[in-house]
Each structure stands twice: as C-alpha cells, then as structure tokens.
C-alpha cells in the first residue's frame, strides 16, 4: 500500500469517523518496499493541494523519513527545488507498506497489511 493512499483513509468503524484521532491511521511494524515510478512533476504539483499536509507529516515521521516542512511546497518551490520534488515523489508514489498494521488512534483497532493489501473488513462485533 502506497504512502499516498494513507492520506485518504480513516478507521472503518462508524463511531470513529467523527473523531480527529481516527486520521491518519498509524503504521505499526511496517515493512517498506520501494517501487520505481517515473517522476511526474505535474502530477505531484496537482496532488499536493488536495492532501492533508499535517497528516502526511505525521505519517512520514512515523515511517522514519526525514521530517517535512511545516507548510506544503508551492508549485514554484517544487520547480526550484529538485531535491524536494524527488523526495516527495519517492515518499508518496514509490514507497509501499508491504507488511504491517495500521492502528486507529481513537479505538485502537489494528488493520493488517499483507502482501501490500490492507484489510479494512471489520470483525462482526465492530460493524
């Protein structure tokens, strides 16, 4: 599962949706892999404005990446700073969580990731 995907996910438990603690989900025991994906500066510039930047900063730190700046870079920043462009591309588009868990900060439920596929089906007592 890609790091970028995590920015769109919350806990699947209905009563957690209204809690800010259910987003972002926290990786645990994550085994990472890196894909080779051709860099696309235009895509990155269009994706950044729709991300929750604070959540991405949390995820990045929790996965052991260098901390991101306080504010998302503007398209101009990206054009000027190739290193930043490359790092964001690598984190968002290339980094995959292959094995591990995603933990809800509100209810504590753990979603397993196996072979790169996260399982959000809930056991019947949580539905």
């Amino acid at each position: 599962m890609k790091v970028l995907t995590l920015n769109f996910l919350t806990c699947a438990v209905k009563s957690c949706k209204s809690s800010s603690d259910s987003f972002p989900l926290h990786p645990k025991d994550a085994e990472l892999a890196k894909d080779d994906v051709e860099i696309n500066p235009q895509l990155l510039a269009n994706v950044l404005p729709r991300l929750d930047w604070n959540a991405l900063r949390t995820t990045s730190t929790e996965l052991g990446f260098p901390s991101l700046p306080d504010q998302p870079p503007s398209p101009e920043d990206l054009t000027a700073d190739e290193k930043m462009l490359q790092e964001l591309h690598s984190l968002l588009m290339e980094t995959q969580i292959m094995e591990g868990k995603l933990v809800c900060g509100h209810c504590g439920h753990e979603y397993a990731i196996r072979e790169g596929i996260a399982n959000f089906l809930l056991p019947s007592h949580l539905v």
């Binding site: 769109f8 699947a12 895509l43 994706v47 596929i117 959000f120 089906l121 809930l122």
Partner: protein, 315 residues
C-alpha cells in the same frame, strides 16, 4: 510488438519481464523484432509489479494472452455486459464532456476516482489508463475497494497491464493508480474526498445476502470459499438493492462538492423509483440529481441494464 510486464522481487531486487501478449502466436524474447532488432527503441518501464518471495497471490494468475487472463474467474467476477456498459458510458461524448468540465480546470487539484467492487479491475484499469481522454486530465489518482482479496490483487495487475499497453502512445494520458484495499464499500475512506465513484453492485435479487466475511473457520473447502466469493459479487438481496442501498446512504458523506457517482442498476432494481428516492432523500433543492446516462439490453420496451449518474449541481 509483444506486450511485456515488468516485475521486481522485493527481497533480492531481481527484475524480470514476461511477455503477456505476443504479437503473433508463439513469438517472444528470442524472435520478436521488438526485442531482436537493435534499431528498435523500447521505452523505460512505467511501473514494476513488486513481488515477494513466498507470495502465492499472483501465482494463480497465470499471465498469457488476454489482458485479464491473470484473473482467477472461479473466485472473481468475470467482466460481462454490465462491465462493458460502464466502459461504454464513461467513454461516451456526453460523459467525457461532463467529467472534463467538472474536473479538469487548469489549476484544479488531482481528482480522486474510486471504484467499489472492481472485481477483475477492467473498469478501473480503463479509467486509469485513459484518464486524459475520459476526464480531461491525467493528474488523477485511482483507488479500488473490494471485499474479495483476490479481486484486490487482480485489479492491481489489470491496471498495471492497461497502463503498460497505453504507454505506446506519444503523450502519456494515464493517471496514477494508488491501491485496491480489501474493505466494505466506502467505509475505509475519509469523508468528502471522492470526485468520481463507480459502482457495479451485486444487483441480482436474491432471498438473502451472503456475509462479507467467509463463513465458519479455515477448514472450509476451496470450492465453498470460491462459491462464497462469487455469490458476494452478484447477490443483492431484496430487489437486488440491499448493498446498493447501503452505498447510497454513504454517498453524500463520501463525494466531494464536485463529486459524482456512476451506479449500475438492472430493471429488477426499479431504477425509476431509485432515482426519485435519491433526489428526495439527498435533497433536490440542494442540487442533487440522478439521471440515466447509459442503457443496454432493451427488452420489450424497457432497459435491462442502465447506468445512473448521481451528482450535485453547483448551487
């Protein structure tokens, strides 16, 4: 030229390629001009399928001559008339112009396209691979959610193949595929993020709905497991609407302000009643609309299958 898919082993980093569609019967690396002719330039691979040692998920998906030939149809719904109606509708001039006008203004953030229950992945793969011509922008993100784990793996592979096949054109028009998660409808998603939602539901009226989780313990037979997965893909309960009704109740909270949904219905679902109820429940005064934008299988004056577009007019 032979079509190939690139793989990379996650542990030893070994990379390899397989011919997934020979250009003529029997051709391959040793004799196809696209590999043997030194003047032939092949582009760098767009994507690799990451593969783990010991993973058996993809092993059952023998790659051969068709783009979905890797899909195990004993346990994943095979594309049929309904899937093709979705493809036809999404590529019709009226829908491409509708979607382009809503999603593709120059400075607009990347649209998120989500398919619920992608199955073999043909629809999500098609939209991702042809994002520029269908949605007016290639800066899209696509995501699938399916209760069937085998469908999740199949969709990832089908999408990689479709992107790989589309990359021969000069200007890349494909979007960025995120993942397919195992989950129940839209429950894993953050609120109000989806710009295009596609759902080909289990729409066949049945006496009851199968449970999302596999029945019983791990000792059930492979045949029982497969039957359960296939039943999940078509059994719709009362009027074939029980799963669709659950999705519809999630829809206003899931779509973005510019979002829209494409929902497949069959005649037994009472589509006119469904459309009227959507407008009434979501609020026609708040701009909610539901209209039929594609049909197939005309039988005795009524449409067997149809695609309903659900959206909110900007107020």
């Amino acid at each position: 030229m032979c079509k190939i898919i690139h793989f990379k082993d996650l542990e030893c980093k070994h990379r390899w390629a397989r011919v997934v569609r020979p250009c003529t019967h029997g051709t391959g690396f040793s004799d196809c001009p696209s590999f043997t002719d030194p003047n032939y330039v092949r582009g760098t691979p767009r994507a690799y399928i990451a593969r783990q040692a010991g993973s058996n998920l993809f092993d059952e998906m023998e790659l051969s001559t068709r783009d979905t030939s890797h899909v195990p149809y004993t346990r994943v719904y095979e594309p049929s008339e309904d899937s093709f109606l979705l493809l036809d509708t999404l590529s019709s001039p009226s829908e491409t112009s509708f979607l382009t006008s809503r999603l593709a203004s120059p400075a607009s953030p990347s649209p998120l396209v989500v398919e619920i229950g992608p199955g073999s992945g043909v629809v999500l793969a098609f939209v991702t691979a042809h994002a520029k011509s269908l949605l007016g922008t290639s800066s899209i993100l696509s995501l699938g959610i399916d209760a069937n784990r085998f469908a999740c793996a199949a969709t990832t592979l089908t999408t990689a193949k479709a992107i790989s096949s589309s990359s021969s054109s000069s200007e890349p028009g494909f979007g960025f595929y995120l993942d397919t998660l195992q989950g129940d409808l839209t429950t894993p998603l953050r609120l109000n993020q989806v710009d295009v939602l596609i759902f080909n539901p289990p729409y066949v009226p049945t006496p009851s709905l199968p449970s999302l989780l596999l029945p019983g313990e791990k000792n059930i037979s492979r045949f029982e497991q497969d039957s359960h997965l296939l039943e999940l893909s078509y059994a719709g309960g009362k009027d074939g609407m029980e799963t669709t009704d659950r999705l519809l109740s999630q829809l206003p909270g899931i779509l973005s302000p510019r979002g829209c949904a494409y929902l497949l219905l069959c005649a037994q679902n009472f589509p006119d009643k469904v459309k009227a109820e959507i407008v009434e429940r979501f609020g026609g005064d708040d701009g909610w609309r539901a209209e039929t934008v594609g049909t197939s299988g005309r039988q005795a004056g009524w449409e067997k299958l149809q695609i309903v577009r659900i959206w909110r007019d900007y107020v």
